[in-house]
């Protein structure tokens, strides 16, 4: 396999894994949301992310099957989601972190949605037509996620003493996992114009919403990395164990 194809496959898997793992996390709220409407909202976002990840996995499967010598079974969206190990997953660390309380959940989604909107806008003008098409489709959905999460960050930050304290705790916990967004992995280095240039825009948007929410940006902290290379926090293994157990126990099971 040539290097460019290999990079494109890994990059597509990174996009797929990131959206799948966050979808899985958000789905944990199903039937546990604070009120019915918000339960439906967070699981709707989960469903959007799951659909986006399916589009990326399907594309990755096509690329893998085109380039691989067919000794193994052909890759499918299911085999890529259900039969890869922890070290093979390339999702952003942020997406695998526990939901914690509602503040932590919505802030996690907010940090990601702002990043996702900027990253996918770049994909629109990128050289790969299928990634651009998936991004175009997804961006319409991300608009809702961005609006909803911004509203929640403002509501919690500018709410009661309790909600203000909780969202501040969430900022403190999650912030060190956002630096990784803007450090390109090897397979991302040829993606033009590159994710380093969106860092300023990301910070600007976070700042805007934080100001309205009477919250402040944290100072410089040590930033965690590794997710894009398959080096994860202890949380990912548990997610995969739950998500993959059925296919691992009963290979090929369908319903």
């Amino acid at each position: 396999m040539d290097k460019t194809t290999d990079q494109l496959i890994n990059y597509t898997l990174h996009l797929a894994d990131t959206t799948l793992i966050l979808a899985q996390r958000n789905a944990e709220w199903c039937a546990h949301g604070p009120i019915l409407e918000q339960d439906i909202a967070i699981t709707n976002i989960s469903l959007d992310l799951l659909g986006q990840s399916r589009n990326f996995y399907q594309y990755a499967a096509v690329l893998i099957n085109q380039s691989a010598s067919h000794q193994n079974k052909p890759a499918t969206e299911d085999s890529l989601a259900y039969l890869r190990n922890e070290r093979e997953f390339k999702n952003l660390l942020l997406t695998e972190l526990p939901n914690g309380d509602w503040a932590q959940t919505v802030l996690k989604q907010f940090f990601f949605s702002v990043f996702q909107s900027l990253q996918y806008e770049q994909l629109l003008s990128g050289s790969d037509e299928q990634l651009a098409a998936i991004a175009e489709k997804s961006l319409k959905e991300i608009t809702y996620h961005l609006r909803w999460t911004s509203e929640w960050v403002i509501r919690l930050g500018d709410g009661t003493d309790e909600s203000h304290e909780r969202i501040n705790k969430a900022i403190e916990f999650l912030w060190e996992y956002t630096g990784e967004f803007f450090i390109p992995a090897d397979y991302e280095k040829n993606i033009e114009p590159g994710i380093t240039v969106i860092k300023e825009k990301w910070l600007q948007k976070i700042k805007e919403v934080f100001e309205e929410a009477t919250l402040s940006l944290p100072g410089d902290v040590y930033m965690q990395t590794g997710g894009k290379q398959g080096i994860h926090t202890e949380h990912l293994g548990y997610i995969l164990a739950e998500m993959q157990s059925l296919q691992r126990t009963y290979p090929g099971a369908e319903w």
Partner: protein, 166 residues
């Protein structure tokens, strides 16, 4: 068969398929056909093979798999044997492609249809499908399916779905 004859046959088949698709309902909002929704992008007829090109409403819409199967079954009922369903993502689906007929059917069904073009950012009040009051409020951007938002009427107090502009 000469070329002209073949062309006429192909376009007659195509027309017939468009008519058949008018009878395939959306599984989640059965008053709408897949044509009303605007998700059928193209029909290609080549000799004995029929290709239907569809586009999903939302990336995660669980109805898309069911819709593909329903289209195949319905066309098979009408004697088509080789049927291929292709899904494309770009240009992305928009409610601007929903038929006027479809919007009327939605309203009669109790779901307020999308009132604006998707690129229109103006703030207009959504009409209650029960009592037609415009004194309504948004409960949630996310409703019972991905394509709907949840509203409530301040006058008759009924909660209702709004098929959001997308």
């Amino acid at each position: 068969m000469n070329q002209l004859q073949q062309h006429i046959d192909t376009s007659a088949t195509e027309k017939n398929i468009w008519e058949i698709l008018q009878t395939v309902p959306d599984p989640e909002i059965p008053v709408l056909s897949v044509l009303d929704l605007g998700i059928i992008r193209e029909i290609k007829v080549q000799e004995d093979e029929v290709e239907v090109v569809i586009t999903p409403t939302y990336s995660g819409c669980p109805a898309m798999d069911a819709i593909s199967i329903d289209i195949k079954l319905k066309l098979a009922e009408h004697g088509y044997k080789k049927i291929k369903i292709t899904s494309i993502l770009s240009p992305a689906w928009t409610t601007d492609w929903m038929s006027e007929e479809g919007k009327k059917k939605l309203k009669a069904y109790g779901i307020t249809p999308p009132i604006l073009r998707s690129d229109d950012a103006s703030d207009r009040k959504i009409e209650c499908p029960q009592c037609h009051s415009h004194n309504t409020k948004l409960l949630s951007q996310f409703g019972s399916t991905a394509c709907k938002a949840l509203y409530q009427c301040n006058d008759c107090k009924e909660p209702f779905d709004y098929f959001k502009c997308h």
